[in-house]
Symmetry: none
Subunit: 210 residues, 4 copies
Amino acid sequence: MTLVEPEDRPRRRPSQARSRRRYEAILEAAATLFAESGFDGVTTEAIAAAAGTSIGSLYQFFPGKKAIFVTLAERLMERENALFEEVVAEAQGRPWDELVEAVVDAFAHLQDTEPAWRAVWSSHLALVGEVAETGERYQRRIVERTAAILGGYAPALSEERRETVATTLVETVAAMLFAGLRYERPRSRALLAETKRMIRLYTADVLAQG
Amino acid sequence: MTLVEPEDRPRRRPSQARSRRRYEAILEAAATLFAESGFDGVTTEAIAAAAGTSIGSLYQFFPGKKAIFVTLAERLMERENALFEEVVAEAQGRPWDELVEAVVDAFAHLQDTEPAWRAVWSSHLALVGEVAETGERYQRRIVERTAAILGGYAPALSEERRETVATTLVETVAAMLFAGLRYERPRSRALLAETKRMIRLYTADVLAQG
Amino acid sequence: MTLVEPEDRPRRRPSQARSRRRYEAILEAAATLFAESGFDGVTTEAIAAAAGTSIGSLYQFFPGKKAIFVTLAERLMERENALFEEVVAEAQGRPWDELVEAVVDAFAHLQDTEPAWRAVWSSHLALVGEVAETGERYQRRIVERTAAILGGYAPALSEERRETVATTLVETVAAMLFAGLRYERPRSRALLAETKRMIRLYTADVLAQG
Amino acid sequence: MTLVEPEDRPRRRPSQARSRRRYEAILEAAATLFAESGFDGVTTEAIAAAAGTSIGSLYQFFPGKKAIFVTLAERLMERENALFEEVVAEAQGRPWDELVEAVVDAFAHLQDTEPAWRAVWSSHLALVGEVAETGERYQRRIVERTAAILGGYAPALSEERRETVATTLVETVAAMLFAGLRYERPRSRALLAETKRMIRLYTADVLAQG
DNA sequence: TATGAATGAGACTTCATTCAT
DNA sequence: GATGAATGAAGTCTCATTCAT
C-alpha cells in the first residue's frame, strides 16, 4: 500500500450541513487516533465510534481506511503549501533570516494546532506505507520554491547547490519539528530555538561561501 | 503496545550451535522484513519462512512478534552505544569537530550496514508503538555522554545549556540520517555532508558564544 | 427464505399515474438485474438506481427485496397461465400435436420477450430460495390442465398415467427452454426444434400405447 | 464472479491423514449446505462449523468460499466424466438404446449418492455465477464424446446433426435429472422412466430418419 | 410522498499464537 | 526440540432496511 489509487479518494464530498459535519468529525477523529496509534493501530470501527457515527456512514464517505488517511494527508499538505506561500508573500523583501524564521514559526504553529500533523508526518518521515507519495510530492514542491527564493538572495549559487541547500533546510526543519514531538513543552521549544539558530548559521555560511 | 514488558524478552538465549544459528537467522530475517514493510506489515509466518525455519521454532525462541522487534532494537541500541564509546575513546584529545565528524561517520556506516537500523529508528522516531521506551533510554544515554564530553571542550557552558546543545546535536544527526533514507545515493551523501557542515557551524558558534 | 410470507407482498398497489409508473419501473429494472446477476447479486440500491428512483421510494412500494422478486414471479406465472389458456382456447379442436406445438411456441416467445423469465425460472428450477412455492403452485396448475386436456385425446389413459405424462411434458419443455438460455441464437433454436420433435414422438407413442 | 481464477484453487492439498479428513469434511459439509441453500445462502463460518472445524482451518485449505465450490464442481465433473467413459467402455458393442440407458442410470445413481450433485448442477444450469465455465467445459466434453459414439451407430448423420442430437440428449438428461430433484421418490423415478422412454423414441427416430 | 443519509448486523478473511505429533 | 496444522479473535467492508428532512 504505497501509491495513492483512485480508490483512496473520498466517495462522496458531502454538501449538506449535517453530512459535512459528519465528514469532518470522521476526519478529525481519525487524525487524533492515527496520531496516537499509527495507521495500523487504528480500526475503522474506532474511528467511527470516536466520530460519533456508525461504521456504515464512514464507508459512505470513504471507500476504506486508507482513503481517510490520504484525505487527511492531502489536506494537510495543501494547507502547508498555502501557509508557505502566504508567509513568503508577507515576508516579501525582508532579509533571508527573517523569512526563514517566519516560515519555521508558521509551521511550528501549524504543528501545534493540527492533530493530523503528527499522523501524517510520522507516516511520511517513517516511510512506512501510506502517503509516501503524497508527502514526497508536496515536500518536493516546497523544496523547489525554497530553492527559487534562495536564488534571489544568493544569485551566485549554482542551481545544484541551491537545491541541495534547500533540501537540507526543509529536511532539517521538518525532522526537528517532528523530533520536538517527543519532548514536553519547555524542552521542545528550546529544541526549536536551537534548530533555528543552527539553520541561521548554516544559511549565513552558505550565503557567504556558497 | 508501547512499553516493553517481560514477555517481550526472548524466551531463551540458545547456546547450542544449531539453535544459535536459528535464533540469529530469525533476527536477521526479521530485521530485513521489518525494514521493508514495517512492524505491522510483516507476519510471523513470513519471518519464520525467511529464516528458513518454522513458526513453531520461532515461538520457541521468542514469546511473540513484539519480542523479536524489541530484541532487535536493544541489540542495535547496544551496538550504537558501544560504537559511540569506541569512537570517542579513539578520538581522545582530538578537536571537537573531528570528534563529532568521527561519530557521525561511524553512525552513518552503521546505518548503511545494519538492516535493523531502519526498522528500529523508524519506530523510534515515528513514536509509533514499539520501542519508544527502549529507544528513548538509549538515546538519553548518548545525549548525556555527549553533554559530558562537550563539557571538556566548553567548560564555561552551564549544565543546562550543555544538555540542550547535546540534545540538539543528537536529534539532528539522528533525524538527518533517517531523512537520508528517503534519498538515493548521491543525494543522501550530499545531505549528510550538509548536515555535518551545519552542526560544525552550530557547534563552533556554541563554543564561541555559549 | 423459501416461503412466501405476507411481508413479501407489495405494500400498496399504486393507483395514481406517477406512482404506477414508478412501481412498474422498479419491477422492470429488477427483472433485468435479477436476470443478469441473480437475486443475491443485485442490491436494492441498484434496482432503485436502474428504475430512476430512490431507495426510499422502493421501500414505499415493497417491504423488501424479496417482495420485488415475488411480485415479479407471480406476475409472470399469472401471465403464463393466461397465455396457456389462451393458446389452448384458440387451438380448440386441433390435433394434439398442433396444440402442443402452439403452446411451446407461445412459451418460447414469452421467454424471449420477458426479462423476468430467466430470473424467475432460474430460481424456480434451481430450487434455490425464492419462489419455490409460487412457481410450484403455478406449474402444478398447468400440469393439471395439461392432463385434463390430454384426457380428451386419450380417454383410455388412466388418470395416473395422464398425470405422469403431463408432468413429463411440462418439465421437459420448461427445462429445455431454460437450457436454451445457455446457447446463442442459432443453436438455441435448434435445441428447441429437437425438443419439439422429441415430445411429439413421445406423445405419439403415449397416445398409441398408453 | 464467473471465471475460475487461480485464487479459486485449493491452497494446500493435504497429505497427512488427519488433514485429509478435515479437508474432505469441509468439502462434504459444503456440498450439503450449498445444495440446501445455494452459494450465497451459505457462510464460510457455517461450512466450518458443519465440518466440525474452525474458520481458520477452512482458510488454510481454501483461499475463499468460491474455491470450495470450484473444487467441489471440478471433482464432480471429473467423476462424471470418468463414469461416462467407464459405462461406455463396459457397454462396448451393445445396442445404442442399452448404452444410453446404462449411462442415464449411472448418472441417476451418481445424483442420488453425491450431495455435491445438486449444488453444482443447480449453479451450472441456473447459470448463476459460479462454475458456469467449469460446468460448460465438462458438459461440452460429454457432448462431444456422445456425438462421436453416436457416429458409430449412425454413420449417415452429418457431423452437425450428430452434435445437435448429442446436445439435445445430454441437455435433456441433465435437465430432467435435475427436475427430478423437485419430486419425492416414486414420482421422481417415474419422471426418469418417462425421460428414458422419450429419448429412446427420439433416438430411434434420429437413427431412422437423420 | 420522495429522497438519500444513516445504521449496524453480519459476511469474509487474516494472522498471532497454541499444541499435537 | 522441531514442525506446521489448528484455532478464533478481531479487522475490514457490504448492503438491506430505517428514518429524518
